[in-house]
């Protein structure tokens, strides 16, 4: 029973981070109709940003997160403004091709610049944990989980309460009417993609604290984000976080009761299931 509780806690802590990874992907997908295959690469870049801010700059990884988010926001904003705006709302295949190409470019640039070595962001408190009724909770994992939930809440409030958030939702729901009432879609798209990239950057930094980063982590994380975003619903941050928790718990349970090598089978099995069960939701967003 204690083992089960421990695994459940591990799954929840991991799942919060998964949810954060998927938030940015779901936002961009829902508003721009772009399935961003380079989303995992943006997570990877966020991981390296926090890694170098910590190792070279001596900045605590959690303090470095906002800096990485600003960097990724600017990167995403410019990427959208000068490249992706050319293909926004065009045929889905175009968006898949161009973001796949970007993914390849980012991965090989990362390999060139950062080498293929495993990197871990290892602050002094990385090994410490608290014990709650026999269940061990590592501080770093707990902090990563709380940051993920916090950012999801901020995103929800931003979309729900602010003028710009309303314009983002309006553009996603009815582009014609949004333009009619003075919304500039190009600006909204760039802001949205920048926000998605910033969330990816935060997720990458946290991923580097609880796991290891290489230039190649993005592919798996893109696929997981894709599954979670669909499970959670693209326009509901809370749903996406719940989707992340579901996947995190499923993976942790698989690792315990079956075999750790099966965990990716769970996420990719879910991917296939989702594609079979909800094709309309994936394709019907033109």
């Amino acid at each position: 029973m204690q083992l089960f509780a421990q695994i459940l806690v591990n799954g929840i802590l991991l799942g919060g981070l998964y949810g954060l990874m998927a938030l940015g992907m779901g936002l961009v997908w829902g508003v721009l109709n772009i399935v961003n295959l380079a989303h995992g690469a943006l997570i990877m870049l966020g991981g390296y940003a926090v890694y170098y801010l910590y190792t070279k700059g001596g900045i605590d990884p959690f303090a470095a997160l906002p800096i990485a988010m600003v960097l990724l926001f600017l990167f995403g904003y410019l990427l959208q403004r000068f490249l992706l705006n050319l293909i926004v709302r065009s045929a889905q295949l175009n968006t898949l091709l161009i973001t796949f190409g970007l993914d390849v470019v980012f991965v090989y640039l990362a390999q060139l610049l950062f080498s293929a070595d495993f990197r871990t962001i290892n602050p002094p408190y990385a090994g410490s944990n608290i014990d709650v009724g026999g269940v061990t909770i590592p501080y770093a994992q707990l902090a990563a989980f709380l940051v993920a939930i916090f950012l999801a809440a901020i995103l929800f409030l931003f979309l729900d309460r602010t003028r710009t958030g309303r314009a983002i939702r309006a553009t996603a729901q009815n582009l014609t009417a949004a333009r009619l009432y003075g919304v500039n879609p190009r600006r909204i798209y760039a802001l949205t993609f920048g926000t998605g990239a910033a969330l990816a950057g935060a997720a990458g930094g946290l991923y580097g604290v609880v796991s290891q980063i290489t230039p190649y982590i993005g592919v798996t994380l893109t696929a997981k984000s894709f599954v979670i975003a669909i499970l959670g619903g693209l326009d509901k941050p809370i749903g996406v976080i719940l989707g992340g928790l579901l996947l995190g718990i499923a993976e942790a349970m698989t690792a315990l009761y079956l075999d750790p090598t099966f965990t990716d089978i769970i996420s990719f099995g879910l991917l296939v299931l989702v594609l079979v069960a909800k094709p309309a939701q994936i394709l019907g967003r033109a």
């Binding site: 309303r166 939702r169 309006a170 009619l180 009432y181």
Partner: protein, 238 residues
């Protein structure tokens, strides 16, 4: 007579190589309700698109002293020419209140926006009751109210309403027409583009009849509604 609010003369416009409008003339004085009627495909919506600069046009196009032909759609909107588009085009998954806030998206005067909210909720008490409801779940008539209310939140000088009556019960149309009369009393000029000629004539001061891209009749409603041709073609009088 004061300077017209909207002045269209010799306007030609179309889509690509296909001309739709040829030599259209239409004038709206401040404070008027003017209706543009005609059957489906006559070019009424094309005229609205040309006026709001969504499609290119040639001729004279002046609004409130500005030459619209040198303006972008955003600038035309900024001058106070606001449309209630055909099919309402609400933000379906947003609350009524968020839809109204989107109408005021380009306004910065917080006090003015608050006053507009009060006025709009006075005009449409139903919208106040339903302000937290999702717009897509409203009835057809309420959705049209929401669309008009959203346009009023942009503080228009000229409100151009496209096919307001489409798909609505006559009793609902009557309520909306009464609201248009009330809006005019508050100083907003109205251009009502309608297929339902009978309904449009009950509220308008003057009317224009459009057929295949040309204005074929114009005048006061009292004159138009006694015109045998208009009666035969649009009012079902034998």
């Amino acid at each position: 007579m004061s300077a017209p609010l909207l002045e269209i003369a010799g306007l030609s416009a179309g889509y690509g190589e296909v001309p739709v409008l040829s030599g259209v003339g239409l004038v709206i004085q401040p404070g008027e309700i003017v209706t543009l009627v005609g059957s489906n495909g006559a070019g009424k919506t094309t005229l609205l698109r040309a006026v709001s600069r969504v499609i290119a046009g040639r001729g004279t196009l002046r609004f409130d002293g500005h030459d619209l032909l040198t303006h972008t759609p955003e600038q035309v909107f900024g001058l106070g020419l606001v449309q209630v588009p055909e099919g309402r085009q609400l933000f379906d998954k947003m609350s009524v209140e968020d839809n109204l806030k989107m109408g005021a998206y380009r306004r910065k005067d917080e006090a003015g926006i608050a006053r507009s909210f009060e006025r709009v909720y006075e005009l449409f008490p139903r919208m106040k009751e339903r302000r937290t409801q999702i717009a897509g779940s409203l009835s057809g008539g309420e959705q049209q109210m929401c669309a008009i209310a959203r346009a009023l939140m942009a503080a228009p000088k000229l409100l151009a309403v496209d096919e307001m009556s489409l798909g609505l019960a006559p009793v609902v149309v009557d309520q909306l027409l009464a609201v248009l009369a009330e809006i005019r009393k508050q100083g907003v000029t109205v251009l009502l583009v309608e297929q339902d000629v009978f309904a449009a004539f009950t509220v308008a001061d003057r009317g224009y009849v459009m057929e295949t891209g040309r204005i074929v009749r114009e005048g006061a409603i009292s004159v138009l509604s006694n015109d045998p041709e208009v009666q035969k073609a649009y009012l079902g009088v034998q």
